[in-house]
């Protein structure tokens, strides 16, 4: 069965290392912070000048001057800091943020990412997406494996405008975990109950299967509901 949004977020959370500095995009990535092991200390960055961001503010405790890049009221963890946009993007562009988890419209076999212009969108907007994709060493993508029309999103080459070329290092979908390697895409894990053949059938790009390819370890309670394709 395909993973839920929470299932994908859970799987990403397992991989974020202790001590990492992480920028989470909007959508599934936002859910990642809910599934982190309490043993790991991870510093979350928000483009609008926050490091050490905590969870969404509980109702009644919101501070009007404390929002995240998605404009939700958030909280701070001890050891956080505030700074301005030039420094915030120095962290991003300068390679200091170690991981970013982003949504994707398309990912290509060579790591090209398209996630900023949806087909048919008439007013363009890029926000910080390109800076994140160009600047951060570990660009991880979360996405449904196929569109809501069933078309593969992992392609030989992107058809939509690129966010950044050759930037994606790992792809987490509701069906699979795929590494982008210099030799091409490598299927490393499949969602529980998903067959390798299913993944291959739903992937447009050439996909090698790792020797030790295995089923993801996802707890039962966050497997259930199918992902809605973006």
């Amino acid at each position: 069965m395909k993973l839920t949004r929470d299932g994908v977020a859970y799987r990403v959370a397992c991989d974020l290392p202790d001590g990492s500095y992480v920028n989470l995009g909007i959508g599934i990535p936002t859910l990642v912070s809910s599934y982190l092991s309490p043993e790991k200390e991870i510093m979350f960055h928000s483009e609008n000048g926050i490091l050490g961001m905590g969870p969404i503010a509980a109702p009644g405790t919101e501070d009007v001057d404390l929002i995240n890049a998605g404009k939700q009221y958030v909280t701070m963890l001890p050891g956080g800091s505030f700074f301005d946009h030039p420094m915030s993007f120095a962290m991003v562009r300068g390679g200091h943020i170690t991981h970013t988890v982003l949504g994707a419209l398309e990912v290509a076999a060579n790591g090209d990412l398209a996630n900023w212009r949806t087909p048919g969108e008439k007013v363009p907007g890029v926000g910080g997406a390109m800076d994140l994709a160009f600047g951060i060493k570990n660009v991880w993508v979360t996405t449904t494996h196929v569109t809501n029309k069933g078309k593969p999103k992992i392609l030989k080459a992107c058809t939509l405008p690129l966010t950044a070329p050759h930037c994606v290092k790992r792809i987490y979908t509701d069906m699979a975990l795929i590494d982008v390697t210099p030799e091409g895409l490598l299927l490393r894990e499949v969602a529980p109950g998903i067959e390798v053949a299913d993944v291959l059938a739903n992937t447009d790009a050439p996909l090698k299967v790792a020797k030790d390819c295995q089923a993801m370890a996802i707890p039962e309670n966050i497997r259930g509901v199918a992902l809605a394709a973006a």
Partner: protein
């Protein structure tokens, strides 16, 4: 004696002229100079070129200025923010120009303008549609795009505390673009939550030194917040 304080936002925007370029600080509500922008609406100048991260939200502040038809061009990273309804309407009709700039490049271009830098190379956008037509250069094996500084006739920002010397202190996520915009604006106007006596901001806590700021208006929080609900 230096006294940069003014009593009203209307006085502060008095010298803004038709065709002016104006930076508006803020990211979401924190640091947004909403009341200066409302004063600008009252003044009724036209043909403005606006630099801001988004393109306004609803019909207050920048959203209202665009709704009033005062804005010729918007330079922004995220003009498709859901609240930017008036910008989007005019854009689809071809009645407003857009220069789309990645957010980090936008911030750095503004800082460059305030810092006397003639231009810089950034990796962001190289090989993408937003890098098309721009000068590129491979430096130490990586491709970069050349970006020029972004100047403006005016910068309008909001801070938490200010003094008559123009020193400003922000609060939490209010800093965002505001320090760089204070540096880059030909004339920089700041609205502040609190006006404090000189010395009321510790020298360690001055985020935008007064040298960058031309006018300060004490201007308590407006109940109308944009994009996000009212504070609790």
């Amino acid at each position: 004696m230096i006294d940069k304080t003014l009593r009203t936002c209307d006085e502060a925007v008095e010298k803004v002229f038709d065709g002016a370029s104006i930076m508006f600080g803020g990211f979401g509500d924190p640091g947004l100079p909403g009341q200066l922008i409302e004063a600008l609406r009252r003044k009724g100048v036209r043909n403005l070129s606006v630099i801001h991260n988004g393109a306004g939200a609803g019909d207050w502040a920048l959203g209202g200025l665009i709704k009033d038809g005062r804005v010729r061009k918007v330079t922004a990273s995220f003009p498709n923010n859901p609240g930017a309804i008036y910008f989007q309407e005019l854009y689809l009709k071809g009645q407003i120009e857009l220069e789309l700039v990645p957010q980090g490049t936008l911030a750095e271009r503004i800082r460059a303008a305030g810092s006397g830098i003639g231009g810089f190379f950034t990796p962001t956008s190289a090989g993408t549609d937003l890098g098309k037509g721009k000068e590129t250069r491979v430096i130490d094996g990586r491709e970069y795009v050349f970006e020029k500084p972004l100047h403006a006739d005016f910068a309008m920002i909001r801070a938490h505390k200010g003094d008559r010397l123009g020193n400003l202190q922000f609060r939490k996520a209010m800093r965002n673009f505001n320090i760089a915009m204070a540096m880059a604006g030909g004339v920089t106007l700041a609205e502040v939550d609190e006006l404090v006596p000189v010395g009321g901001i510790d020298p360690e806590d001055v985020h935008a030194p007064g040298i960058f700021v031309d006018k300060v208006v004490h201007c308590p929080r407006h109940p109308k917040l944009v994009e996000i609900g009212p504070p609790k």
